[in-house]
Symmetry: C2
Subunit: 251 residues, 2 copies
DNA sequence: ACGGTAAGGGTCACATCGACCAGAACCACG
DNA sequence: CGTGGTTCTGGTCGATGTGACCCTTACCGT
Protein backbone atom coordinates (compact mmCIF):
# COMPACT_ATOMS: atom_id res chain seq x y z
CA UNK A 1 0.00 0.00 0.00
CA UNK A 2 1.60 2.96 -0.50
CA UNK A 3 1.72 3.64 3.10
CA UNK A 4 4.66 4.98 4.86
CA UNK A 5 7.75 3.62 3.24
CA UNK A 6 9.54 3.26 6.52
CA UNK A 7 13.21 2.74 6.47
CA UNK A 8 13.05 5.07 3.52
CA UNK A 9 16.35 6.68 2.99
CA UNK A 10 15.79 10.15 1.63
CA UNK A 11 12.18 10.22 0.56
CA UNK A 12 11.25 13.83 0.36
CA UNK A 13 10.20 14.34 -3.22
CA UNK A 14 8.69 11.21 -4.64
CA UNK A 15 10.61 9.55 -7.35
CA UNK A 16 8.59 6.63 -8.61
CA UNK A 17 11.57 5.16 -10.37
CA UNK A 18 13.23 4.75 -7.00
CA UNK A 19 10.88 1.90 -6.23
CA UNK A 20 10.98 -1.47 -7.90
CA UNK A 21 8.74 -1.65 -10.93
CA UNK A 22 6.50 -4.61 -11.53
CA UNK A 23 4.25 -5.73 -14.30
CA UNK A 24 0.77 -6.47 -12.99
CA UNK A 25 -1.36 -9.01 -14.73
CA UNK A 26 -4.79 -10.50 -14.17
CA UNK A 27 -5.40 -14.20 -14.69
CA UNK A 28 -8.81 -15.78 -14.80
CA UNK A 29 -9.59 -19.35 -13.92
CA UNK A 30 -12.75 -20.02 -15.89
CA UNK A 31 -14.67 -22.99 -14.58
CA UNK A 32 -17.65 -24.69 -16.10
CA UNK A 33 -19.47 -28.01 -15.97
CA UNK A 34 -19.35 -30.21 -19.01
CA UNK A 35 -20.29 -33.85 -19.12
CA UNK A 36 -20.86 -33.93 -15.39
CA UNK A 37 -17.25 -32.90 -14.89
CA UNK A 38 -15.66 -29.72 -13.66
CA UNK A 39 -13.67 -28.20 -16.49
CA UNK A 40 -11.27 -25.31 -16.77
CA UNK A 41 -10.66 -23.16 -19.82
CA UNK A 42 -7.03 -23.19 -20.94
CA UNK A 43 -5.24 -21.45 -23.77
CA UNK A 44 -2.16 -22.62 -25.54
CA UNK A 45 0.67 -20.15 -25.35
CA UNK A 46 1.87 -18.79 -28.65
CA UNK A 47 5.05 -17.15 -27.49
CA UNK A 48 7.97 -17.74 -25.20
CA UNK A 49 8.32 -18.38 -22.42
CA UNK A 50 6.48 -21.66 -21.99
CA UNK A 51 5.63 -21.57 -25.68
CA UNK A 52 3.17 -24.27 -26.63
CA UNK A 53 2.19 -25.02 -23.08
CA UNK A 54 -1.27 -24.66 -21.63
CA UNK A 55 -2.03 -21.71 -19.42
CA UNK A 56 -5.00 -19.97 -17.93
CA UNK A 57 -6.01 -16.84 -19.80
CA UNK A 58 -4.82 -13.50 -18.57
CA UNK A 59 -3.24 -10.26 -19.52
CA UNK A 60 -1.73 -7.06 -18.34
CA UNK A 61 -3.70 -4.70 -16.22
CA UNK A 62 -4.10 -1.27 -17.72
CA UNK A 63 -3.48 1.74 -15.51
CA UNK A 64 -6.91 3.13 -16.31
CA UNK A 65 -8.96 0.15 -15.23
CA UNK A 66 -9.63 -1.52 -11.92
CA UNK A 67 -8.58 -5.09 -11.25
CA UNK A 68 -12.18 -6.22 -11.50
CA UNK A 69 -12.57 -4.48 -14.82
CA UNK A 70 -9.40 -6.07 -16.12
CA UNK A 71 -10.66 -9.49 -15.09
CA UNK A 72 -13.99 -8.87 -16.76
CA UNK A 73 -12.21 -7.75 -19.90
CA UNK A 74 -10.13 -10.89 -19.97
CA UNK A 75 -13.18 -13.02 -19.41
CA UNK A 76 -15.11 -11.45 -22.26
CA UNK A 77 -12.13 -11.53 -24.59
CA UNK A 78 -11.86 -15.21 -23.95
CA UNK A 79 -15.46 -16.32 -23.87
CA UNK A 80 -17.45 -13.48 -25.31
CA UNK A 81 -19.52 -13.33 -22.18
CA UNK A 82 -20.43 -9.89 -21.00
CA UNK A 83 -22.19 -10.82 -17.84
CA UNK A 84 -20.32 -9.99 -14.70
CA UNK A 85 -21.98 -13.10 -13.35
CA UNK A 86 -19.61 -14.80 -11.00
CA UNK A 87 -16.17 -13.26 -11.04
CA UNK A 88 -14.37 -13.21 -7.76
CA UNK A 89 -10.82 -12.41 -6.89
CA UNK A 90 -9.16 -15.11 -4.86
CA UNK A 91 -5.44 -14.54 -4.73
CA UNK A 92 -2.32 -12.69 -5.75
CA UNK A 93 0.90 -14.35 -6.79
CA UNK A 94 4.27 -12.68 -6.90
CA UNK A 95 7.05 -15.14 -6.21
CA UNK A 96 10.34 -13.96 -7.61
CA UNK A 97 11.12 -15.75 -10.83
CA UNK A 98 7.59 -16.91 -11.48
CA UNK A 99 7.98 -15.15 -14.80
CA UNK A 100 11.47 -15.52 -16.19
CA UNK A 101 11.25 -12.29 -18.13
CA UNK A 102 10.58 -9.77 -15.42
CA UNK A 103 8.99 -9.10 -12.07
CA UNK A 104 5.35 -9.89 -12.45
CA UNK A 105 2.63 -9.91 -9.85
CA UNK A 106 -0.61 -11.45 -10.94
CA UNK A 107 -4.04 -11.16 -9.40
CA UNK A 108 -6.12 -14.27 -9.91
CA UNK A 109 -9.86 -14.37 -10.47
CA UNK A 110 -12.31 -17.21 -10.47
CA UNK A 111 -15.10 -17.15 -13.04
CA UNK A 112 -18.00 -19.53 -13.14
CA UNK A 113 -19.78 -19.77 -16.44
CA UNK A 114 -22.22 -22.15 -17.96
CA UNK A 115 -21.33 -24.01 -21.07
CA UNK A 116 -18.67 -22.05 -22.86
CA UNK A 117 -18.17 -25.02 -25.16
CA UNK A 118 -19.43 -23.26 -28.24
CA UNK A 119 -17.74 -19.99 -27.44
CA UNK A 120 -14.29 -21.41 -27.13
CA UNK A 121 -12.32 -20.64 -30.22
CA UNK A 122 -14.28 -17.53 -30.91
CA UNK A 123 -11.21 -15.67 -29.86
CA UNK A 124 -8.34 -14.78 -32.10
CA UNK A 125 -5.49 -16.95 -33.22
CA UNK A 126 -4.71 -18.67 -29.96
CA UNK A 127 -5.93 -22.13 -29.27
CA UNK A 128 -8.31 -22.62 -26.39
CA UNK A 129 -9.90 -25.70 -24.87
CA UNK A 130 -11.81 -27.00 -21.92
CA UNK A 131 -9.85 -29.43 -19.84
CA UNK A 132 -11.08 -31.54 -16.94
CA UNK A 133 -9.86 -30.02 -13.72
CA UNK A 134 -8.85 -33.45 -12.54
CA UNK A 135 -6.36 -33.72 -15.39
CA UNK A 136 -4.74 -30.50 -14.27
CA UNK A 137 -4.64 -31.46 -10.62
CA UNK A 138 -3.19 -34.86 -11.44
CA UNK A 139 -0.57 -33.10 -13.49
CA UNK A 140 -1.52 -35.05 -16.56
CA UNK A 141 -0.69 -31.86 -18.38
CA UNK A 142 1.81 -29.20 -17.42
CA UNK A 143 0.75 -25.64 -17.10
CA UNK A 144 2.90 -22.60 -17.74
CA UNK A 145 4.28 -20.44 -14.96
CA UNK A 146 2.80 -21.22 -11.54
CA UNK A 147 -0.60 -21.76 -13.06
CA UNK A 148 -0.92 -25.19 -11.53
CA UNK A 149 -0.81 -23.65 -8.11
CA UNK A 150 -3.31 -21.00 -9.15
CA UNK A 151 -5.76 -23.57 -10.47
CA UNK A 152 -5.32 -25.60 -7.30
CA UNK A 153 -6.19 -22.58 -5.20
CA UNK A 154 -9.13 -21.78 -7.44
CA UNK A 155 -10.55 -25.25 -7.03
CA UNK A 156 -10.15 -25.10 -3.30
CA UNK A 157 -11.91 -21.77 -3.35
CA UNK A 158 -14.85 -22.98 -5.40
CA UNK A 159 -15.29 -25.89 -3.02
CA UNK A 160 -15.68 -23.49 -0.13
CA UNK A 161 -17.71 -21.01 -2.13
CA UNK A 162 -20.15 -23.75 -3.02
CA UNK A 163 -20.94 -24.23 0.63
CA UNK A 164 -21.26 -20.63 1.71
CA UNK A 165 -22.81 -19.01 -1.34
CA UNK A 166 -25.27 -19.75 -4.07
CA UNK A 167 -22.65 -19.99 -6.77
CA UNK A 168 -23.86 -23.44 -7.77
CA UNK A 169 -26.61 -21.97 -9.92
CA UNK A 170 -24.00 -20.17 -12.02
CA UNK A 171 -22.92 -23.52 -13.41
CA UNK A 172 -26.32 -24.46 -14.75
CA UNK A 173 -28.64 -22.88 -17.26
CA UNK A 174 -31.28 -20.23 -16.64
CA UNK A 175 -33.64 -23.04 -15.77
CA UNK A 176 -32.49 -26.31 -14.34
CA UNK A 177 -33.57 -29.47 -12.64
CA UNK A 178 -32.65 -30.62 -9.19
CA UNK A 179 -30.55 -33.37 -10.70
CA UNK A 180 -28.49 -30.84 -12.66
CA UNK A 181 -27.91 -28.72 -9.61
CA UNK A 182 -27.05 -31.74 -7.56
CA UNK A 183 -24.55 -32.84 -10.19
CA UNK A 184 -22.67 -29.59 -9.64
CA UNK A 185 -22.17 -30.33 -5.98
CA UNK A 186 -21.31 -33.93 -6.61
CA UNK A 187 -18.73 -33.14 -9.26
CA UNK A 188 -17.01 -30.38 -7.33
CA UNK A 189 -16.99 -32.07 -3.96
CA UNK A 190 -16.56 -35.57 -5.28
CA UNK A 191 -19.37 -36.92 -3.16
CA UNK A 192 -22.69 -38.63 -3.65
CA UNK A 193 -25.75 -36.82 -2.36
CA UNK A 194 -29.12 -38.37 -1.74
CA UNK A 195 -31.49 -36.96 -4.32
CA UNK A 196 -34.48 -36.74 -2.00
CA UNK A 197 -32.60 -35.12 0.85
CA UNK A 198 -30.88 -32.73 -1.52
CA UNK A 199 -34.15 -31.63 -2.96
CA UNK A 200 -35.62 -31.06 0.46
CA UNK A 201 -32.70 -28.98 1.60
CA UNK A 202 -32.83 -26.76 -1.44
CA UNK A 203 -36.54 -26.03 -1.45
CA UNK A 204 -36.63 -25.61 2.32
CA UNK A 205 -34.47 -22.51 2.06
CA UNK A 206 -37.09 -20.38 0.53
CA UNK A 207 -36.04 -17.97 -2.14
CA UNK A 208 -33.08 -20.04 -3.20
CA UNK A 209 -34.79 -21.52 -6.20
CA UNK A 210 -38.12 -20.69 -7.80
CA UNK A 211 -40.26 -23.36 -9.43
CA UNK A 212 -41.23 -22.47 -12.97
CA UNK A 213 -44.10 -24.91 -13.15
CA UNK A 214 -42.59 -26.46 -16.25
CA UNK A 215 -41.09 -29.88 -16.57
CA UNK A 216 -37.99 -31.14 -18.30
CA UNK A 217 -38.24 -33.91 -20.82
CA UNK A 218 -36.71 -37.08 -19.45
CA UNK A 219 -33.57 -38.43 -21.05
CA UNK A 220 -33.63 -41.37 -23.37
CA UNK A 221 -33.33 -43.62 -20.36
CA UNK A 222 -36.78 -42.62 -19.28
CA UNK A 223 -37.74 -41.64 -15.80
CA UNK A 224 -40.21 -39.26 -14.35
CA UNK A 225 -39.87 -35.76 -15.79
CA UNK A 226 -38.15 -33.35 -13.44
CA UNK A 227 -39.51 -30.00 -12.40
CA UNK A 228 -37.68 -26.97 -13.72
CA UNK A 229 -36.45 -24.23 -11.43
CA UNK A 230 -34.71 -20.94 -11.88
CA UNK A 231 -32.29 -19.27 -9.51
CA UNK A 232 -33.80 -17.11 -6.81
CA UNK A 233 -32.05 -14.30 -5.04
CA UNK A 234 -28.37 -14.66 -4.43
CA UNK A 235 -27.46 -16.79 -1.50
CA UNK A 236 -26.03 -14.62 1.15
CA UNK A 237 -25.05 -16.35 4.32
CA UNK A 238 -24.63 -20.05 4.34
CA UNK A 239 -26.11 -22.31 1.73
CA UNK A 240 -28.32 -25.24 2.65
CA UNK A 241 -26.00 -27.94 1.40
CA UNK A 242 -23.05 -28.94 3.51
CA UNK A 243 -19.85 -30.48 2.45
CA UNK A 244 -18.87 -32.94 5.10
CA UNK A 245 -21.10 -35.66 6.36
CA UNK A 246 -21.66 -35.92 10.04
CA UNK A 247 -20.52 -39.50 9.67
CA UNK A 248 -17.07 -38.37 10.68
CA UNK A 249 -15.41 -38.63 14.02
CA UNK A 250 -17.21 -35.82 15.70
CA UNK A 251 -17.91 -37.18 19.10
CA UNK B 1 -0.75 -13.47 -15.84
CA UNK B 2 1.96 -13.21 -17.79
CA UNK B 3 0.06 -15.40 -20.03
CA UNK B 4 -0.43 -14.73 -23.63
CA UNK B 5 -0.72 -11.03 -24.18
CA UNK B 6 -3.42 -11.37 -26.74
CA UNK B 7 -4.13 -8.43 -28.92
CA UNK B 8 -0.42 -7.93 -28.72
CA UNK B 9 0.70 -5.86 -31.60
CA UNK B 10 4.15 -6.97 -32.57
CA UNK B 11 5.35 -9.00 -29.64
CA UNK B 12 8.26 -11.07 -30.83
CA UNK B 13 11.13 -9.91 -28.67
CA UNK B 14 9.94 -9.02 -25.22
CA UNK B 15 10.31 -5.48 -24.21
CA UNK B 16 9.27 -5.17 -20.60
CA UNK B 17 9.12 -1.43 -20.82
CA UNK B 18 6.33 -1.79 -23.36
CA UNK B 19 3.98 -2.82 -20.56
CA UNK B 20 2.65 -0.52 -17.90
CA UNK B 21 4.79 -0.41 -14.80
CA UNK B 22 3.24 -0.56 -11.37
CA UNK B 23 4.52 -0.24 -7.88
CA UNK B 24 3.50 -3.24 -5.80
CA UNK B 25 3.03 -2.87 -2.09
CA UNK B 26 1.96 -5.12 0.73
CA UNK B 27 -0.36 -3.85 3.44
CA UNK B 28 -1.06 -5.69 6.65
CA UNK B 29 -4.21 -5.34 8.70
CA UNK B 30 -3.04 -6.31 12.17
CA UNK B 31 -5.90 -7.31 14.43
CA UNK B 32 -5.82 -7.98 18.12
CA UNK B 33 -8.14 -8.13 21.10
CA UNK B 34 -7.79 -5.51 23.73
CA UNK B 35 -10.29 -4.72 26.43
CA UNK B 36 -12.76 -7.19 24.99
CA UNK B 37 -12.74 -5.21 21.77
CA UNK B 38 -11.38 -5.96 18.34
CA UNK B 39 -8.61 -3.51 17.59
CA UNK B 40 -6.55 -2.69 14.54
CA UNK B 41 -3.00 -1.38 14.47
CA UNK B 42 -2.69 1.91 12.62
CA UNK B 43 0.26 4.14 11.89
CA UNK B 44 0.24 7.86 11.35
CA UNK B 45 1.63 8.83 8.00
CA UNK B 46 4.71 11.01 8.09
CA UNK B 47 4.77 12.10 4.49
CA UNK B 48 2.48 13.21 1.72
CA UNK B 49 0.10 12.18 0.47
CA UNK B 50 -2.38 11.85 3.29
CA UNK B 51 0.23 13.21 5.65
CA UNK B 52 -0.84 12.99 9.25
CA UNK B 53 -3.67 10.58 8.54
CA UNK B 54 -3.96 7.10 9.93
CA UNK B 55 -3.16 4.18 7.71
CA UNK B 56 -2.52 0.49 7.97
CA UNK B 57 1.15 -0.42 7.86
CA UNK B 58 2.66 -1.53 4.61
CA UNK B 59 5.51 -1.08 2.23
CA UNK B 60 6.92 -1.88 -1.14
CA UNK B 61 7.48 -5.43 -2.18
CA UNK B 62 11.04 -6.23 -3.07
CA UNK B 63 11.72 -8.17 -6.24
CA UNK B 64 13.68 -10.78 -4.32
CA UNK B 65 10.98 -11.72 -1.84
CA UNK B 66 7.63 -13.41 -2.13
CA UNK B 67 4.44 -11.63 -1.17
CA UNK B 68 4.18 -13.71 1.98
CA UNK B 69 7.72 -12.81 2.93
CA UNK B 70 7.06 -9.14 2.34
CA UNK B 71 4.00 -9.31 4.57
CA UNK B 72 5.92 -11.06 7.28
CA UNK B 73 8.65 -8.47 7.03
CA UNK B 74 6.14 -5.65 7.41
CA UNK B 75 4.54 -7.37 10.35
CA UNK B 76 7.81 -7.82 12.19
CA UNK B 77 8.97 -4.31 11.39
CA UNK B 78 5.81 -3.02 12.93
CA UNK B 79 5.31 -5.28 15.90
CA UNK B 80 8.60 -7.05 16.37
CA UNK B 81 6.85 -10.39 16.13
CA UNK B 82 8.72 -13.04 14.26
CA UNK B 83 6.14 -15.75 14.36
CA UNK B 84 4.45 -16.42 11.07
CA UNK B 85 1.45 -17.18 13.24
CA UNK B 86 -1.65 -16.08 11.45
CA UNK B 87 -0.88 -14.14 8.32
CA UNK B 88 -3.22 -14.69 5.44
CA UNK B 89 -3.60 -12.86 2.19
CA UNK B 90 -7.12 -11.74 1.57
CA UNK B 91 -7.24 -9.29 -1.30
CA UNK B 92 -5.55 -7.13 -3.89
CA UNK B 93 -6.45 -3.55 -4.61
CA UNK B 94 -5.52 -1.67 -7.74
CA UNK B 95 -8.12 0.95 -8.55
CA UNK B 96 -6.69 3.71 -10.70
CA UNK B 97 -5.96 6.74 -8.61
CA UNK B 98 -5.96 4.95 -5.29
CA UNK B 99 -2.50 6.41 -4.87
CA UNK B 100 -2.26 9.90 -6.31
CA UNK B 101 1.43 9.59 -7.01
CA UNK B 102 1.57 6.61 -9.30
CA UNK B 103 0.02 3.32 -10.25
CA UNK B 104 0.09 1.15 -7.20
CA UNK B 105 -1.35 -2.29 -6.69
CA UNK B 106 -1.38 -3.48 -3.13
CA UNK B 107 -1.78 -6.97 -1.77
CA UNK B 108 -3.50 -7.01 1.59
CA UNK B 109 -2.78 -9.41 4.42
CA UNK B 110 -4.61 -10.09 7.62
CA UNK B 111 -2.54 -10.74 10.72
CA UNK B 112 -3.90 -11.89 14.04
CA UNK B 113 -1.69 -11.26 16.99
CA UNK B 114 -2.14 -11.30 20.70
CA UNK B 115 -1.60 -8.19 22.68
CA UNK B 116 0.73 -5.96 20.72
CA UNK B 117 0.03 -3.16 23.12
CA UNK B 118 3.49 -3.06 24.57
CA UNK B 119 5.20 -3.55 21.27
CA UNK B 120 3.57 -0.65 19.56
CA UNK B 121 5.96 2.23 19.37
CA UNK B 122 8.96 -0.03 19.36
CA UNK B 123 9.30 0.91 15.75
CA UNK B 124 11.10 3.94 14.47
CA UNK B 125 9.89 7.49 14.34
CA UNK B 126 6.37 6.96 13.13
CA UNK B 127 3.49 6.99 15.51
CA UNK B 128 1.51 3.80 15.90
CA UNK B 129 -1.60 2.99 17.90
CA UNK B 130 -4.31 0.43 18.41
CA UNK B 131 -7.73 1.65 17.40
CA UNK B 132 -11.06 -0.06 17.93
CA UNK B 133 -12.22 -1.56 14.67
CA UNK B 134 -15.66 -0.13 15.30
CA UNK B 135 -14.23 3.38 15.21
CA UNK B 136 -12.78 2.72 11.80
CA UNK B 137 -15.94 1.14 10.43
CA UNK B 138 -18.07 3.96 11.75
CA UNK B 139 -15.70 6.36 10.05
CA UNK B 140 -15.00 8.13 13.29
CA UNK B 141 -11.53 8.53 11.88
CA UNK B 142 -10.49 8.77 8.29
CA UNK B 143 -7.93 6.44 6.86
CA UNK B 144 -5.49 7.21 4.08
CA UNK B 145 -5.91 5.84 0.58
CA UNK B 146 -8.57 3.15 0.28
CA UNK B 147 -7.59 1.71 3.61
CA UNK B 148 -11.11 1.95 4.97
CA UNK B 149 -12.24 -0.48 2.33
CA UNK B 150 -9.32 -2.75 3.05
CA UNK B 151 -10.07 -2.83 6.76
CA UNK B 152 -13.72 -3.47 6.01
CA UNK B 153 -12.79 -6.46 3.87
CA UNK B 154 -10.36 -7.69 6.51
CA UNK B 155 -13.05 -7.63 9.17
CA UNK B 156 -15.45 -9.47 6.94
CA UNK B 157 -12.75 -12.01 6.31
CA UNK B 158 -11.95 -12.56 9.96
CA UNK B 159 -15.63 -13.09 10.66
CA UNK B 160 -15.73 -15.91 8.15
CA UNK B 161 -12.34 -17.26 9.15
CA UNK B 162 -13.48 -17.50 12.71
CA UNK B 163 -16.16 -19.94 11.68
CA UNK B 164 -14.18 -22.16 9.38
CA UNK B 165 -10.78 -22.21 11.02
CA UNK B 166 -9.21 -22.21 14.43
CA UNK B 167 -7.93 -18.68 14.17
CA UNK B 168 -9.67 -17.68 17.38
CA UNK B 169 -6.84 -19.08 19.47
CA UNK B 170 -4.43 -16.67 17.80
CA UNK B 171 -6.12 -13.82 19.62
CA UNK B 172 -5.53 -15.21 23.07
CA UNK B 173 -2.41 -16.11 24.99
CA UNK B 174 -0.55 -19.41 24.96
CA UNK B 175 -2.91 -20.55 27.66
CA UNK B 176 -6.42 -19.26 28.00
CA UNK B 177 -9.75 -19.81 29.63
CA UNK B 178 -13.00 -20.62 27.93
CA UNK B 179 -14.29 -17.19 28.79
CA UNK B 180 -11.39 -15.53 27.03
CA UNK B 181 -11.89 -17.62 23.95
CA UNK B 182 -15.59 -16.99 24.00
CA UNK B 183 -14.98 -13.26 24.26
CA UNK B 184 -13.14 -13.41 20.94
CA UNK B 185 -16.16 -14.83 19.19
CA UNK B 186 -18.53 -12.47 20.91
CA UNK B 187 -16.49 -9.38 20.08
CA UNK B 188 -15.92 -10.25 16.46
CA UNK B 189 -19.40 -11.47 15.67
CA UNK B 190 -21.17 -9.10 17.98
CA UNK B 191 -23.25 -11.83 19.54
CA UNK B 192 -23.82 -13.36 22.96
CA UNK B 193 -22.96 -17.01 23.32
CA UNK B 194 -24.12 -19.27 26.09
CA UNK B 195 -21.10 -20.09 28.21
CA UNK B 196 -22.09 -23.67 28.92
CA UNK B 197 -22.97 -24.54 25.34
CA UNK B 198 -19.86 -22.84 24.07
CA UNK B 199 -17.70 -24.87 26.36
CA UNK B 200 -19.33 -28.09 25.30
CA UNK B 201 -18.91 -27.35 21.63
CA UNK B 202 -15.24 -26.57 22.04
CA UNK B 203 -14.23 -29.56 24.10
CA UNK B 204 -16.38 -31.92 22.05
CA UNK B 205 -14.20 -31.36 19.01
CA UNK B 206 -11.28 -33.21 20.34
CA UNK B 207 -7.86 -31.87 19.63
CA UNK B 208 -9.08 -28.30 19.34
CA UNK B 209 -7.97 -27.34 22.81
CA UNK B 210 -5.91 -29.21 25.35
CA UNK B 211 -6.54 -28.86 29.07
CA UNK B 212 -3.42 -27.93 31.00
CA UNK B 213 -4.78 -29.03 34.34
CA UNK B 214 -4.04 -25.59 35.73
CA UNK B 215 -6.54 -23.00 36.78
CA UNK B 216 -6.71 -19.28 36.28
CA UNK B 217 -7.05 -17.01 39.26
CA UNK B 218 -10.48 -15.44 39.33
CA UNK B 219 -10.80 -11.74 38.85
CA UNK B 220 -11.38 -9.39 41.69
CA UNK B 221 -15.06 -9.95 41.28
CA UNK B 222 -14.66 -13.51 42.45
CA UNK B 223 -16.13 -16.55 40.84
CA UNK B 224 -15.02 -20.09 40.37
CA UNK B 225 -11.54 -20.32 38.87
CA UNK B 226 -11.54 -21.28 35.22
CA UNK B 227 -9.55 -24.12 33.75
CA UNK B 228 -6.67 -23.18 31.50
CA UNK B 229 -6.32 -24.60 28.02
CA UNK B 230 -3.80 -24.32 25.27
CA UNK B 231 -4.43 -24.49 21.54
CA UNK B 232 -4.43 -27.92 19.97
CA UNK B 233 -3.75 -28.69 16.36
CA UNK B 234 -4.89 -26.19 13.81
CA UNK B 235 -8.52 -26.38 12.94
CA UNK B 236 -8.86 -27.65 9.47
CA UNK B 237 -12.36 -28.07 8.23
CA UNK B 238 -15.14 -26.32 9.97
CA UNK B 239 -14.87 -25.08 13.50
CA UNK B 240 -17.35 -26.12 16.14
CA UNK B 241 -18.80 -22.68 16.71
CA UNK B 242 -21.29 -21.32 14.24
CA UNK B 243 -22.10 -17.78 13.50
CA UNK B 244 -25.80 -17.61 12.93
CA UNK B 245 -28.31 -19.03 15.31
CA UNK B 246 -30.81 -21.45 13.95
CA UNK B 247 -33.41 -19.15 15.47
CA UNK B 248 -33.74 -17.52 12.08
CA UNK B 249 -36.41 -18.07 9.51
CA UNK B 250 -35.23 -21.39 8.23
CA UNK B 251 -38.45 -23.25 7.74
C1' DA C 1 -19.98 -16.91 57.84
C1' DC C 2 -22.41 -15.17 53.97
C1' DG C 3 -23.81 -13.08 49.75
C1' DG C 4 -22.02 -12.18 45.10
C1' DT C 5 -19.97 -13.86 40.96
C1' DA C 6 -18.37 -16.76 37.46
C1' DA C 7 -17.25 -21.49 35.75
C1' DG C 8 -18.63 -26.11 34.94
C1' DG C 9 -22.00 -29.65 34.20
C1' DG C 10 -26.83 -31.68 33.45
C1' DT C 11 -31.28 -31.98 31.28
C1' DC C 12 -34.77 -31.53 27.93
C1' DA C 13 -37.33 -30.07 23.94
C1' DC C 14 -36.67 -29.42 19.32
C1' DA C 15 -34.70 -28.96 14.69
C1' DT C 16 -32.00 -31.12 11.37
C1' DC C 17 -29.88 -34.68 8.81
C1' DG C 18 -28.98 -39.01 6.63
C1' DA C 19 -30.71 -43.54 5.39
C1' DC C 20 -34.21 -45.88 3.46
C1' DC C 21 -38.62 -46.89 1.29
C1' DA C 22 -42.70 -46.10 -1.64
C1' DG C 23 -45.23 -43.96 -5.24
C1' DA C 24 -45.42 -41.25 -9.62
C1' DA C 25 -44.35 -40.51 -14.31
C1' DC C 26 -41.88 -41.34 -18.13
C1' DC C 27 -39.14 -44.47 -21.85
C1' DA C 28 -38.08 -48.72 -24.49
C1' DC C 29 -38.66 -52.77 -25.35
C1' DG C 30 -41.15 -57.06 -26.77
C1' DC D 1 -50.37 -52.84 -25.05
C1' DG D 2 -48.10 -54.42 -21.12
C1' DT D 3 -44.00 -54.96 -18.62
C1' DG D 4 -39.70 -53.80 -16.74
C1' DG D 5 -36.34 -50.20 -16.15
C1' DT D 6 -35.25 -45.51 -14.83
C1' DT D 7 -35.68 -41.15 -12.68
C1' DC D 8 -37.87 -37.90 -9.88
C1' DT D 9 -40.72 -36.74 -5.80
C1' DG D 10 -42.44 -37.38 -1.30
C1' DG D 11 -42.72 -39.87 3.35
C1' DT D 12 -40.92 -41.90 7.55
C1' DC D 13 -37.81 -42.76 11.22
C1' DG D 14 -33.93 -42.93 14.11
C1' DA D 15 -29.63 -40.59 15.37
C1' DT D 16 -27.49 -36.47 16.40
C1' DG D 17 -26.65 -31.84 17.46
C1' DT D 18 -28.30 -27.30 19.27
C1' DG D 19 -30.20 -23.85 22.25
C1' DA D 20 -32.47 -22.66 26.56
C1' DC D 21 -32.41 -23.16 31.24
C1' DC D 22 -31.16 -24.69 35.85
C1' DC D 23 -28.14 -26.22 39.36
C1' DT D 24 -23.80 -27.08 41.54
C1' DT D 25 -19.00 -25.85 42.36
C1' DA D 26 -15.53 -22.77 43.82
C1' DC D 27 -13.65 -18.62 44.43
C1' DC D 28 -13.94 -13.40 46.06
C1' DG D 29 -15.02 -9.49 49.59
C1' DT D 30 -16.86 -7.97 53.52
Amino acid sequence: MTSTPRSAQPPAGYDPSAFPAFAVTVDVVILTMSERTLQVLLVRRGEAPFQGMWAIPGGFKRPTETLDEAALRELSEETGMEIAAQLTQFGAYGDPGRDPRMNVVTVAYLAVVRDVGAVVGGTDASEAALMPVSAVLNEDLDLAFDHLRIVRDAVERIRVELEVSGIATAFVGPTFTMAELRAVYEAIWGVQLDAANFRRSIVAEDGWVIPTGQRARPGSAGGRPAELYRAGRAWDHGGPIHRFQRADGRK
